[in-house]
């Protein structure tokens, strides 16, 4: 029994036994803090699936593999290729315990903990003994493992440092094994170089092909370490991409030489897991095929090259578009690439390695709401007179930046997460942006006093005004900062709905309503951007004629448009136009699909399940829960939502007509969008992916057009046969709602409509 000063131990065995004797089996004695979580973590002794020490009869606890046995070159190649598969499985999110740590050579290298490069060996030199000449194949395998483990260390550290979800995205647990933490990468690089020379020197003995195959794999390890090292620089993308390009080039020859290897399954064992710092019983090795591994690495290398392009900053909106489109890829880039992107974006609060947060936010404000504005004039910072409006402006703007910076950067950070998390995070962000908007409005009001801004009679555009009349609203202030915040909130709300389509969150009978809601949001956004544009135009005119008063001593209000000022206005107006266009395309496509689904539902071609335990209204509550707390735009009342989703006032032929017209509108808009240059589209650096997105939307439009036409034709045919609009009987159509990954674009779920032969 353990004893120590101050502790008096009492043997309670007997008391415990007699107390438990009064309980029936299965009674649970627990305090209020015993949760489901604890019960899930509990183990059952002697259950082989839970008890890590439980052995089958005759089973040995340890692996009896001899790491000093001679290895053939083909075996070394076989082991390396198996390690590549396990490395990828780890990247994909499986723990080291079920991947790389199942290898006996790695285990021997890492245990006991190596502190020097000499110790990092599966055959440890005995101290005092002269270094015996060793089998070159050992040196090759060891050098490969050194490079592999060090790369894993860097990858693991990178991921741990950034925002990610443990176990969900990735498992960073190293079970108290080192990943060569203390060993310098240059020493490791030297070992790999030496091994490459060695392989070269014995090429005649092991065959040229084999020497090449091993050489490529060693080279891959060097390049990987180099790629990691360079990524820390965050400098010119072209120079950083060299090792990635090199890996990409090595990858096909590696794949093609895999047949030279002989698998050594004995060198991998689940038993090693018992020695790791974990209570988990051994779980199976995660076995990817080499074909799968090939595909994943290929994507990793391509993404590695691609992600570097983010470093060449053009403007804040191109940056956002880059991140958006890069992360929307299917499949998504691996966690390592996603954390690399975060690192590029945010490390040390220096954006992309050379920009201040202020620079990016001001750039964004200039593009979206205040081109060539005195509010963004940096020279105000040096004004020290508290009564000078410029001093006040600089102060208020700084308050605003401090208020908004985190929320703004969080959008980028959120976009770097897995898609499920992006949506869930945005559901919270919109509440945050709601308060940003309110706080910004207060600052706007202080600023408009400093600027002596005159309210403007702003005419709502007839196309987007809610009552369709384009009536004049009372004179209003521009409220640039809250306008900016509101625009982001609207975008976030649209993204939440769109990610709902992408993640297959909606049941087919919800699609009519959700596309309607998307359209509603997009229209609100268009309307809002029209408002921003009106104020920007007004200010442009003032600057032109020199009445842009406000702050005195402002060298910008000179009454003529300098080329820089003109460029700023042009850039902003081009952004606003592109945004309105994008919003218009969104609402037209969404309208088209909403009308189409409404019709399909009317016709019983998309049928709701019986749902005896639920009501439509309660489901509306759950579905719209993220939006319920938002004051602007307010969540439509359930009744108006139902009316919008069912369109009781419109006939079916009429709805199909609307749908067809909306498709035409969307396609026209997309046509214009597709002609924008990378600058006009604010897709500098990611233009290809952006225009690919536009193309996929265009195909969506064509697809939707076809489906609508088929329904129209069937409807007309039935009307002809059965006497008029209200013709009886089911439409001779078969409708299938595709999975998002089968759609041209995950955000646009176009129903597949097939004509069926009713004669049969």
């Amino acid at each position: 029994m353990i004893s120590s000063a101050g502790i008096v131990a009492t043997d309670v065995t007997r008391r415990f036994a007699s107390a438990t004797a009064t309980l029936p089996p299965g009674a649970l004695i627990k305090d209020g803090y015993f949760t489901l979580f604890e019960s899930v973590g509990a183990l059952e002794i002697m259950d082989p699936k839970m008890d890590s020490g439980c052995l089958a009869p005759g089973e040995s606890l340890d692996e009896d593999y001899d790491v000093t046995r001679p290895l053939l070159p083909s075996e070394v190649l076989g082991i390396i290729d198996q390690l590549l598969c396990l490395e990828m499985a780890w990247h994909l999110g499986y723990p080291l315990s079920q991947t790389l740590f199942t290898n006996v050579y790695i285990e021997a290298m890492l245990n006991p903990y190596p502190t020097t490069i000499q110790e990092a060996d599966f055959i440890r030199p005995r101290s005092g003994e002269p270094k015996a000449p060793r089998d070159p194949m050992f040196s090759v395998l060891r050098a490969y493992c050194l490079g592999l483990l060090k790369a894993c260390w860097y990858v693991n550290e990178r991921i741990k440092f950034e925002h990610f979800y443990e176990e969900e995205d990735f498992v960073t647990n190293t079970y108290r094994r080192s990943l060569l933490d203390d060993i310098d990468r240059d020493e490791i690089r030297d070992e790999i170089m030496a091994a490459r020379t060695l392989v070269h020197n014995i090429r005649h003995e092991i065959s040229d092909d084999m020497a090449q195959a091993l050489g490529f794999r060693l080279e891959l390890r060097t390049a990987f370490l180099r790629a990691i090292e360079l990524s820390e620089l965050r400098s010119n993308p072209d120079s950083l991409s060299l090792p990635w390009v090199q890996m990409k080039a090595l990858w096909d020859p590696i794949y093609k030489s895999r047949h030279l290897g002989t698998p050594v399954p004995e060198a991998f064992s689940t038993k090693i897991q018992r020695k790791l710092a974990s209570t988990m019983p051994p779980r199976p090795i995660v076995q990817l095929s080499f074909e799968e591994t090939y595909g994943h690495f290929k994507k990793l290398f391509n993404d590695g090259i691609d992600v570097l392009k983010v470093l060449s900053y053009s403007d804040s909106q191109s940056l956002l578009n880059f991140v958006l489109a890069f992360q929307a890829q299917k499949p998504q880039p691996l966690v390592y690439i996603r954390t690399l992107l975060q690192n590029f974006l945010f490390k040390d609060m220096i954006i992309l390695g050379h920009l201040s947060i202020r620079h990016v936010i001001d750039d964004d404000l200039a593009i979206v709401v205040m081109p060539h504005s005195t509010l963004l004039d940096k020279s105000h910072d040096s004004v020290e007179l508290p009564h000078d409006p410029r001093f006040a402006i600089a102060h208020q703007m700084e308050l605003f930046r401090q208020r908004a910076a985190q929320s703004y950067l969080d959008i980028f950070r959120a976009l770097c997460q897995n898609r499920c998390r992006v949506r869930r995070t945005f559901c919270h962000s919109i509440q945050d942006w709601e308060t940003v908007q309110m706080d910004a409005e207060e600052i706007d009001q202080l600023l408009q006093i400093q600027l002596d801004e005159k309210p403007m009679a702003y005419k709502t555009s007839p196309m987007t005004s809610s009552d369709g009349t384009g009536a004049s609203d009372p004179p209003a202030y521009s409220l640039p900062l809250s306008s900016w915040a509101y625009l982001y909130k609207l975008k976030l709300m649209e993204w939440i709905v769109q990610l709902g389509f992408e993640l297959e969150t909606y049941h087919p009978d919800e699609l009519a309503g959700m596309y309607w809601y998307l359209s509603y949001l997009a229209k609100t956004r268009a309307q809002h951007v029209e408002r921003i544009k009106a104020f920007t135009m007004q200010r442009l005119n003032e600057v032109r004629v020199g009445t842009n008063g406000g702050v005195r001593n402002d060298n910008r209000s000179g009454g003529f448009l300098t080329p820089q000022a003109e460029a700023q206005f042009t850039r902003s107006l081009s952004y606003l136009r592109a945004t309105i266009l994008d919003a218009a395309v969104t609402w037209e496509l969404a309208d088209a699909l909403s009308y189409l689904y409404t019709v399909l539902q009317r016709e019983g071609l998309v049928a709701p399940p019986p749902r005896p335990y639920s009501t439509d209204e309660l489901r509306y509550d759950i579905r719209m829960k993220p939006f319920a707390p938002i004051g602007l735009p307010e969540l439509p009342a359930y009744e108006s939502f139902v009316r919008a989703a069912t369109q009781p006032e419109s006939g079916t032929a009429e709805l199909l007509e609307y749908a067809a017209r909306a498709v035409v509108g969307a396609r026209k808009g997309l046509e214009v969008l597709s002609k924008l240059s990378e600058k006009e589209a604010f897709a500098v650096g990611g233009y290809k992916r952006w225009s690919d997105g536009v193309k996929r939307c265009m195909r969506t439009g064509i697809d939707a057009g076809i489906s609508i036409e088929r329904v129209r034709a069937a409807f007309a045919a039935r009307a002809k046969a059965g006497g008029g609009e209200g013709g009886k009987g089911k439409l001779a159509l078969k409708v299938e709602v595709p999975k998002p990954e089968k759609a041209y674009h995950e955000w646009w779920i176009v129903p597949k409509v097939e004509v069926i032969d009713v004669e049969k």
Partner: protein, 185 residues
């Protein structure tokens, strides 16, 4: 798929049945799980919420055909807290699937939870488990969110929600869509 052996008996679990049925319950549920639950997980639910566990029994020999295991408690992150029911496990013996046994079990559980004032019932199910998702959606559950790589096998899940009562609009600032997701299914 065999025909049902006559009219099944549906009975509510109680602690005195542990020695008779717990082994069969574990066996039935473990069959479709990659990771077994320890006996404590079962007892955690059954000891506290045995009244929310229903079993479908073969009328001829009273052997277990299907089982549902749930809990119901105040959900803390809500203001005011909601009574949240949670369907932890559901399984029907492979031979008797497709006859509405699971549907009947889920209905009994929802009825029992409603009776005990539940505001909502939630659960998670693997994204690939189409039969389960269809079953729940047919009853009125909605997918509220997707959970990335929720299971140890790397599969994602959906959180399904059945709202039984109107959400209090004053509590709307809370997002029950996003509390920590723990627990088996």
């Amino acid at each position: 798929m065999a025909a049902l052996p006559g009219e099944l008996k549906y009975i509510q679990y109680e602690h005195s049945l542990e020695s008779v049925y717990l082994p069969a319950i574990r066996a039935l549920i473990s069959k479709d799980l990659s990771e077994p639950y320890s006996i404590y997980v079962y007892r955690y639910f059954l000891y506290q919420w045995g009244h929310l566990c229903y079993m479908a029994l073969n009328p001829s020999d009273s052997s277990l055909v299907g089982v549902i295991i749930c809990k119901l408690e105040a959900h803390a992150s809500h203001s005011p807290p909601t009574m949240r029911g949670y369907i932890a496990m559901l399984a029907v013996s492979a031979t008797y699937r497709g006859h509405g046994v699971a549907t009947a079990l889920v209905k009994k559980a929802i009825d029992a939870m409603t009776h005990r004032n539940a505001d909502e019932v939630v659960l998670e199910t693997e994204e690939t488990n189409i039969p389960a998702m269809r079953l729940y959606e047919r009853l009125g559950f909605l997918r509220s969110k997707k959970l990335h790589r929720y299971y140890l096998n790397g599969n994602s899940a959906y959180r399904l929600v059945l709202l039984l009562k109107q959400i209090d609009p004053d509590a709307a600032t809370d997002l029950s869509l996003d509390e920590v997701d723990t627990g088996p299914s």
